[in-house]
């Protein structure tokens, strides 16, 4: 024999536990307190969660999520209904969105944190954009704590994008399937909006790139492909020609200097300063040549 989860599956209430002296001391020993009862809630709900999540291919996560829904349900009288409903309908909502990316992190996070499974999945759907986790956690926490009736109205009227996610959260906290699905739809809207926004940004980037390409290397903004040299380049070319000819002259080739008429003439030298000196005979300062 080895591992067994029978105690959890059977929801055994009387446990005979063999105690060993720990080899290592960690602060996490207490995590195992009442382990089998906790696990019974988690494993026992696998069937329910699994059914709710059929089609999404999320066995492990489904089990976890559903189990957390059950666990969350136990805190308050309304929690049971809220959590359970959320587990099932949330699963449907997640499936309805049709994204295969119901992945690991969102689902797991929600599973850890609390009761709402569907929103975990929904959160998982938008994980790609990096907004899923927080939404999931919040949604889960809200429901787990209160199981309150917030829902379809805020979710339905909430505009897309970020606020759509908020709508999703609110929907997630609802008791009723419709509200949860509406929440899911709000999220879906958010996803669509996100996609549109992304497309707009991509187009902007493309245009910017095109503009940069066309203006590089002296090509003008208006798309004219004639290369217009700027003044710096012109001056450089003229100087090169001038010095090439000057060198030829030095070498005795007697070629005329390059025409520098277009080069601005050098400014006239500043007027020479007068020189004065002290004349010991006159004992005065006088101008000298």
């Amino acid at each position: 024999m080895g591992f067994s989860l029978k105690k959890a599956f059977k929801k055994v209430v009387k446990i005979h536990k063999k105690v060993f002296k720990a080899v290592f001391v960690t602060p996490y020993k207490k995590l195992w307190e009442k382990k089998w009862v906790r696990m019974a809630a988690m494993v026992g709900a696998v069937v329910v969660g699994g059914m709710a999540l059929t089609g999404t291919g999320l066995f492990a996560q489904g089990g976890l999520l559903a189990s957390n829904a059950t666990a969350g349900a136990a805190t308050t009288a309304t929690g049971l209904e809220a959590g359970g409903t959320a587990a099932i309908t949330g699963g449907s909502a997640g499936a309805e969105l049709g994204t295969a990316a119901i992945a690991t992190e969102g689902a797991t996070t929600a599973g850890i944190n609390s009761a709402v499974t569907g929103e975990a999945l929904t959160g998982g759907n938008i994980l790609g954009s990096g907004t899923g986790v927080a939404a999931t956690e919040t949604a889960g926490l809200n429901t787990a704590l209160t199981g309150e009736l917030v829902g379809s109205v805020p979710a339905a009227i909430t505009p897309p994008a970020t606020e759509g996610v908020v709508g999703g959260i609110l929907g997630a906290t609802a008791k009723y399937p419709a509200a949860t699905i509406v929440g899911g739809m709000a999220l879906s809207g958010a996803m669509q909006s996100h996609a549109a926004e992304q497309a707009r940004k991509d187009e902007e980037k493309r245009l910017e790139k095109e503009r940069n390409r066309r203006t590089a290397y002296g090509v003008s903004y208006d798309g004219n492909s004639d290369v217009q040299l700027n003044s710096g380049q012109k001056l450089q070319e003229m100087n090169d020609a001038y010095f090439a000819n000057k060198q030829a002259n030095i070498l005795g080739q007697n070629q005329p200097l390059a025409d520098r008429s277009s080069v601005p003439a050098a400014a006239p030298p500043p007027p020479s300063r007068k020189r004065i000196a002290f004349n010991p005979q006159t004992k005065q300062w006088e101008e000298v040549a």
């Binding site: 024999m1 080895g2 591992f3 067994s4 989860l5 029978k6 599956f9 929801k11 209430v13 009387k14 446990i15 005979h16 536990k17 063999k18 105690v19 060993f20 002296k21 080899v23 290592f24 960690t26 602060p27 996490y28 995590l31 195992w32 009442k34 382990k35 089998w36 009862v37 906790r38 696990m39 019974a40 809630a41 988690m42 494993v43 696998v46 069937v47 699994g50 059914m51 709710a52 999540l53 059929t54 066995f59 492990a60 489904g62 089990g63 976890l64 957390n68 059950t70 666990a71 969350g72 136990a74 805190t75 690991t104 992190e105 797991t108 599973g111 850890i112 609390s114 009761a115 787990a144």
Partner: protein, 152 residues
């Protein structure tokens, strides 16, 4: 978030005898304790834990199982369910501790549900890999759950 029947559990603790205690210590040391003594092994373990950051529970469950399997290969199969459970708990605890110290998970996020889900995942993986050793009732429950998932 406590289950309704939380209070109804009745745990009767029985102290392991010295032989069982020694076996437990040998397993835990071999599974995870020795890694700390070998620089390369320890680095490999830390890398594996870091790689679990994206999906902590699944990653740590798989890592815990591989450490457990490795110890079993050297010391022989564990026959006692309680011993298996205790070894698995010790390995998971230690991995969680490392994960927190590595900063890949916040300590406040660690709760009983995290630990239990790692344990459940580890146990399920073990059952899938060792159907001949697994309890038939466990397999039956898992099959039922799987069937419900496919049909529902």
């Amino acid at each position: 978030m406590e289950p309704q029947n939380e209070q109804s559990q009745n745990v009767e603790e029985i102290q392991a005898n010295p032989e069982e205690q020694k076996l437990y210590e040998d397993f835990v040391r071999l599974a995870i304790g020795d890694a700390a003594k070998d620089r390369n092994k320890f680095k490999a373990l830390m890398d594996a834990i870091k790689a679990s950051a994206k999906n902590l529970e699944d990653g740590l469950a798989r890592l815990a199982l591989s450490l457990y399997d490795n110890a079993e290969k050297q010391l022989g199969p564990v026959q006692d369910d309680d011993l298996t459970e205790a070894i698995a708990e010790a390995i998971i605890e230690q991995l969680i501790d490392y994960a927190v110290k590595l900063g890949i998970v916040d300590q406040h996020r660690i709760n009983t549900d995290v630990a239990n889900s790692i344990y459940i995942r580890m146990a399920k993986l073990w059952m899938e890999q060792n159907p001949d050793r697994a309890d038939p009732e466990d397999l039956q429950y898992l099959e039922q759950a799987k069937g419900a998932r496919q049909n529902g």
